[in-house]
């Protein structure tokens, strides 16, 4: 009976979420739709970065680099398929299929980039990853700016606007379900063990490097998804969108929400996006505020808002909910 239950728990959010999102989509004004899509993209970024920085206890600060890989892949595919209309298929469905394919392709290429970056740097301790990902972020930018195929510094423009509220938040659901399912699995337990004590985990037979690389690849894939969604909202794909300012923004969200808490990073990402929307006039102080926030948080409350707890830990325990094992 376990397998169908698990499958149901993984699929149910999508089945319930899609009609709800589509219903909500109709009642949103253009402004709120675009704000909420941005918020959704940031939630995807924060939750996926949390898999590496929170669950595994490594520290990546180049999430925007993987975003760029996914975004350019997806953008190239939707641009190539722009005039494509198969007979017998309604155009909206064909567009949707192409977009889904583009997003998935973006996830695959971002995951490959993650493998390339993670393999050498994750064999060592966490701080190497930080500097390698920061470097990777810059290198991706240099490569894009030197490649005519990717439009050099001006980037790719004229992308179709495909990201709707429902698309973005289905991505959020996928990311959150991934993170939840991962945390409850053997893989997730291995990641937590690595975070708590790498030497002990290795002594208990956990393949530390293998699990770290897997976590990093999964996280990069979802960064690629976020990139694909973002460029089909702003209809423009330039290297300037994916500088390390973006990476640090995501790091701040994760740290503020609490390293290791899915709901924490989601809430922080959502809240920060809305706050930034309200503070558009003081854009130039944004990075200074972020860095001060990081330092002050580390000095006074390094656990962030939620620590490693989840929102549902505070819910009253329902009779049919099994108590999760202690120490999760």
């Amino acid at each position: 009976m376990r397998a169908p239950g698990l499958a149901l728990r993984s699929l149910l959010p999508f089945l319930l979420g899609l009609p709800a999102l589509l219903a909500l989509q109709g009642s949103l004004s253009d402004f709120w739709a675009s704000v909420l899509i941005t918020a959704g993209v940031n939630v995807i970024l924060a939750v996926s970065l949390n898999v590496v920085n929170g669950f595994t206890g490594q520290f990546s600060i180049g999430h925007a680099g993987f975003m760029a890989v996914g975004a350019y892949t997806a953008a190239k595919i939707t641009l190539a398929a722009a005039g494509w209309a198969p007979a017998g298929l309604p155009p909206r469905l064909a567009d949707g299929a192409v977009f889904l394919l583009a997003l998935l392709a973006g996830m695959v290429t971002a995951a490959l980039a993650g493998l390339l970056v993670g393999m050498p740097s994750l064999r060592l301790r966490g701080d190497y990853l930080a500097i390698v990902t920061l470097g990777f972020n810059e290198i991706i930018r240099v490569i894009i700016e030197n490649t005519a195929f990717l439009g050099r510094a001006t980037g790719l423009s004229g992308l179709p606007r495909r990201t709707t509220f429902a698309w973005a938040w289905m991505g959020v659901i996928a990311t959150v379900v991934m993170a939840r399912r991962l945390l409850g699995s053997t893989h997730g337990r291995a990641l937590l063990a690595i975070r708590e004590d790498e030497v002990a985990a290795e002594a208990m037979g956990v393949d530390t490097t293998g699990y770290k690389v897997k976590a990093f690849v999964v996280s990069s894939a979802f960064a690629g998804l976020a990139g694909g969604l973002l460029v089909h909202l702003i209809q423009l794909c330039t290297p300037r969108t994916f500088t390390f300012v973006k990476s640090i923004e995501v790091v701040v969200m994760v740290v503020l929400g609490g390293l290791g808490s899915v709901t924490g990073s989601a809430v922080a990402a959502f809240g920060l996006t809305l706050a930034l929307e309200g503070l558009r006039e003081v854009q130039e102080y944004r990075m200074v505020a972020y860095s001060l926030l990081l330092i002050v948080l580390m000095l006074t409350r390094p656990t962030g808002l939620f620590g490693t707890r989840e929102a549902w830990d505070w819910l009253p325990r329902l009779p049919w909910r099994r108590r999760p094992e202690e120490g999760a």
Binding site: G57, F59, I61, M119, P120, S121, R123, L124, G126, D127, Y128, A130, I131, V132, L134, G135, F136, E138, I139, V142, I143, N146, D197, V199, A200, A203, I248, V251, V255, L259, E284, Y285, M287, V288, Y290, S291, L292, L293, L294, I295, M298, L299, P302
Partner: protein, 309 residues
Amino acid sequence: MTEFLQHLVNGLSVGTIYALIALGYTMVYGVLKLINFAHGDVYMVGAFSGYYIAHALGAGDRPTLPKALAVFVGSMVVCGALGAAIERFAYRPLRARPRLTALITAIGVSFLLEYGFQLPSFGLTTQPFPPGPTPRFFPQPFARVSWSLGGVELSNYDVVSFAVAFGFMLLLQLVVYRTRFGRAMRAVSFDAQVAGLMGINVNRVIAGTFVLGSVLASVAALLVAGSRPTINPLMGLMPGLKAFVAAVFGGIGNVPGAMVGGLVLGLAEEYVAGYLLSSYRDAIAFAILIVVLLVRPEGLFGRVRAEKV
């Protein structure tokens, strides 16, 4: 052959700069086991404090040797103080906490410096501070004289910068291996707790290490700003990253390793960019880092230390 020699000259002059910055990374890593992310930005502050001091002295209009020296020493003092302040207020309170906490703080300090310097200026001083994101021109400390030796371009800036950089590296060797402070530093780097039990003031040694590293970074910044005069608040990012690669290449925590690593990295960058892929210059260091991490993660002179539980 002339091209080869020209690349050699350029590579050495870039390499000595990387080496000077890498020394700061490697010494701090030695005593704290922390990658001081803000080190590249201390380098940037070095260039800017030189810029402000030079303008305050009017060194840009009538450059003289005493003025150049004043700029040099002043900027070193500013950077040393900055390094000590960063250690005291950002890293010391976190020393007993998990390493990740200190790493995040270091990233925060780095971005605070980079973007704090890009804020709109207050307008109280004649030279606007903070400088804002537009690049500024560093005043020339002395007139440039170029020689052509068999087709190889060489300027007095190259010679001075090479001599100064090597002088400081020799001085550092003396400090680390011939003084009481250096011995204390090596003891702390070997085992901070035991060093403390032996009567070494660990806090003071760590603060001293930060000051030393930051002073070297400011020297590097002034040497660069003298010959390539545009400076901006993000100028520390790439040299910082590359110097870190140099430190890892030489074996992080190892002082001679950082010097060799810096020189090798400078030469490798110059030759690869010169002969093969000029537009991917910034990617070369990254490729080297990946190869080092795959083949010999402890670096050229590094020793493998077993992790203790």
